[in-house]
Amino acid sequence: MKNLLAERTVGIKPSGIRKFFDLVSEMDDPEVISLGVGEPDFDTPWHIREEGIYSLERGRTFYTSNSGLKDLRNAICDYLKRTYQVEYNPETEVMVTVGGSEAIDIGLRAVLNPGDEVIIPQPSYVSYEPCTVLAGGKPVILELQEKNEFRLTKEELLAAITPKTKVLILPFPNNPTGSVLRREDLEDIAEVCIEKDILVMSDEIYSELTYGAKHVTIASLPGMKERTILINGFSKAYAMTGWRLGYTCAPHIILEQMLKIHQFAIMCAPTTSQYAAVDALKNGEKDVEEMRISYNQRRRFLVHTFRKMGLKCFEPFGAFYVFPSIKELEMTSDEFAMELLNREKVAVVPGTAFGACGEGFLRISYAYSLDELKHATDRIARFVAEIRKEKGLI
């Protein structure tokens, strides 16, 4: 058959993480410790799971409305108002999606015309670039700088804007760097976006996991709500990754279009998950607080431990990753990760999986117990010392 495949899809590179995942899986070695996971190590709090089970017992096994259960949309709006002081109309400006990932996809598909440019700050989550391409847009990669602790600055943004720029992706708190934007950073960015008439897709899936100042959503800044597609969800805050549930808030004119794609491609987010999520938003605050305290301790432990190894590691204030630099060891991220896996059986993700500018860095997840982290970092320290010795870097 001629032209069996769609060129646009074929042109997309498989995720760099996938490659590493296959390698680790092939080893199938119980000795391997992985610090490569991008999901919480906690179980979903029992009261939330129980609510899901109860909904099944009650036979709530039907589709919900396309935009999601009314109770859930109301709970989302209450939450956003009380937590981030931003008001959305649950009838017209909110929809429940299959994870934040779906929202990224349909948000881009709803707004992009062929050739429209999307500014994607990297290192960042793996799906913005392919989703942009699949939606017919043109990704413009903006390389965040270590010297700015991987925050997006006004100058960097201005330099990336062209007359074709339509959307800025704002992935903070950031996976993989753990970087967060402060209110003053957001104000600078908002000013540029308003002046240059740019839409913002703000992926705030880690918003509950910040360890310094509380998260601020760019949608809450004056003049921004009307140009922001806000994406959030339940995976990270409530340890609900497998429930596949997220949500997005956007001006009605955009949400209406997103809803059409969702309606035809997905129908509705999983019903059981939606019932559980209502309980998460209403009664889950204490659980989030406990997890945050725990993550914060591990975060301090990792920053301390990597610095003790003599590696440069800026202090991240969000998500559950640290992003130490291995540049001084004269190896690429890929080489380091491979060698570490072979010699010490510790799996970490090379920074390059999140964009070319992740070269020289590693993503280390702290969604692991302190004991596991200790065990793994002991091995990493031994490995780093060995490499230094071999290369005469002492």
């Binding site: 995720s15 992985s34 996971v37 999901e39 993700v349």
Partner: protein, 163 residues
């Protein structure tokens, strides 16, 4: 109480083995402050000991654990404290709680055999003047103690690498 002390307690309650150096890193404070705070809490009897949580089910040497509901007559001027003291002074007794509801004191104790526990109740506890009645319950299985689940759980099925 200081915020630091509360944070130290939250960690030590789950892990009394944690070192001062580790606590300082985890809480982002200095070792001096942490060790001073621990010392003060020991002096103030806020920290009363560093025990180990043991699942005795997994050890051959068998133990019998009993929970005994005790109804007593409170004494003038001293309420329940005096009779509680007479009970908690027995070294066999592990814990004594004053309880609201249908009885007054919950006494927990360990013995080597059922017989030993029964003898304690009939010889020592019941004859006390203020004790009106007792009801002894033997523990058959411990599922969870101090927030730790004792029964074995299936291993995690998290993938090794995810974005």
């Amino acid at each position: 109480m200081s915020e630091l002390k509360e944070k130290i307690l939250a960690i030590m309650e789950k892990n009394s083995k944690v070192s001062v150096a580790d606590l300082a890193v985890l809480l982002g404070d200095t070792e001096d402050n942490v060790s001073r705070a621990i010392y003060e809490m020991e002096q103030d009897k806020i920290i009363c000991g560093y025990h180990t949580l043991i699942n005795w089910n997994k050890v051959n040497n068998e133990k019998v654990i009993a929970m005994i509901e005790v109804r007593v007559t409170p004494q003038r001027g001293q309420g329940f404290d005096r009779i509680a003291e007479r009970i908690y002074n027995f070294s066999e007794v592990n814990s004594v709680y004053l309880i609201s509801g249908g009885f007054d004191l919950m006494v927990m104790l360990e013995g080597k055999t059922l017989q030993e526990v029964a003898m304690f109740v009939s010889d020592k506890l019941s004859p006390l003047d203020s004790v009106l009645s007792t009801a002894t319950h033997f523990v058959l299985k411990k599922y969870k103690e101090h927030g730790t689940i004792f029964v074995s759980q299936s291993p995690r099925e998290r993938m090794l690498i995810t974005p």
